[in-house]
């Protein structure tokens, strides 16, 4: 039930960071994923492929990790509630309408994960590709 993460670099048309999530993404691991993506962005990563072909389970807290990653890769560090609700309101409206402009691609989404993304509507925010090469090539 643990989550294993690895970070690799690949070259497509643009430099791409590949974050592999293997195992289960739940309340015990979602904050670690957010921290990893924060590091990726801080180190200059701007295009992210999340290889989730070996991700077998995602809890609702895992959705928070995905969505926070989306914002981080847009350069919006999700505000810590400790900085107050005003800080939260000050963040530009991230609510995505029909045309998600995202720089995260998913690769190898298993049916159990896809089901959760579909159920919650988040599938619309995460373009999904059958494998890593296709996801990298999509940038």
């Amino acid at each position: 039930m643990a989550l294993h993460t690895t970070v690799e670099h690949a070259d497509g048309r643009v430099p791409v960071v590949v974050l592999t999530l293997a195992g289960e993404l739940d309340a015990s691991s979602y904050e670690g994923v957010i921290a990893t993506v924060r590091d990726i962005y801080a180190n200059g990563g701007r295009h992210l492929v999340m290889d989730i072909s070996e991700l077998t389970f995602i809890a609702s807290s895992g959705l928070v990790a995905l969505h926070s990653s989306l914002r981080l890769m847009r350069g919006e560090d999700p505000p810590d509630p400790e900085y107050g609700w005003a800080a939260m309101r000050a963040v530009s409206n991230e609510v995505s309408d029909a045309t998600p402009q995202t720089n995260i691609r998913l690769s190898g989404t298993q049916s159990a994960i896809q089901k959760v993304l579909d159920r919650t509507g988040l599938a619309a925010l995460f373009p999904s590709y059958p494998d890593r090469a296709a996801a990298i090539a999509a940038f």
Binding site: D26, A59, N93, V95, S96
Partner: protein
Amino acid sequence: MPEPVEAPFLDPTRLERILEPWTSGRSQPTVTVEDPGGMIIAGPAARDGAVGSRRMQADILLDGAAVARIVATGGHEADASLRASIEALAIAIGELAAEGRARRSTAQALHELRSEMAAMTLGIDATELAKGRRQQRSILSLVAPEVPGYDLASHYAAAREIGGDFFELFRLRRRGHPLGIVIADVTGKGLDAALLMAFSRPVMHTALDAASGPAEALQRTNAVLVDDRRGTLFITAVCAILHPTDGRVRVAGAGHEPPLLVPGDGGPIVEVGGAGVLLGAFATIGPPEVEVTLEPGDILFFYTDGVTDAVDPSGARFGDERLRQALAAAQGGSAHDLVAAVSTAVQAFQVEAEPADDVTIVAVGRHRRVRAAGASRRS
């Protein structure tokens, strides 16, 4: 005169920020944090405008001792919901106080020692008190209204860390006083989840009371969440409205596990309604709404993902199949039977582990024998 107790570990600036949604709102009650002596630590100092209006409060506990309290003045409409919200805030701030204990002063340590001694005198250990603090939320939710002709049953088990499930069962203030049902899960954990729960709970209650149907209630809630905050957490929820006279129930969901209809005649267990997108992530949502009729003996079973995501010592998840098996085994029983069957199965599955996520179950069952037609008239 009692010795004034300093409010330990609570930074007023931090508290002001936490209270902001309540102090900057338009029609919300005034919310302050006071020390046990009644001195305001955070929140608006003057409550002159609220003279004569209702006042409710919740203690902020640290190891069982009240170190401060939250006071809401001028509450209206959804009082039970506001109360639950205030309780949730108190718990969240209590967690903050516990965190801040590392910075305690000598005087505060002394105060804590006193409360520990008091606890020992009462034969309660600190672990139990901590558990009680977590369970506090559930007690409020468990006060379900009487609905003649129906059984309302629920189960709630708090996670190790403060989580974000809540549910409400209440009579709507409209003709026929239908039963409003809300079950929701704030994603994520910790202080931010607790704060979002405290914020959204009365919002959902009011939305369901005011909306023409459950889908509109979810839309209203989403609009408030999207307009008033830009957090990183979401809410998944199901809202439903049950008309007790004929058993019609309208159901709408937002990213949440659809409720299950467990027929009293032994027929197949089916999901009711679609899931819809979750709340707080999209500017506009159009949740699917369906209507079903509860026949005598039928039970509508609501739950959060804490049920299906429960883990056994080998790492396996409880899952949909075990849930359906547990329900099928108890099918034909009452709403209480179903809730007991599932909660027992989940507990047995987890063995001794405390749940990693909140586990919440609500079941609404129509009695087998139809009562006289007038029985569901509200007293």
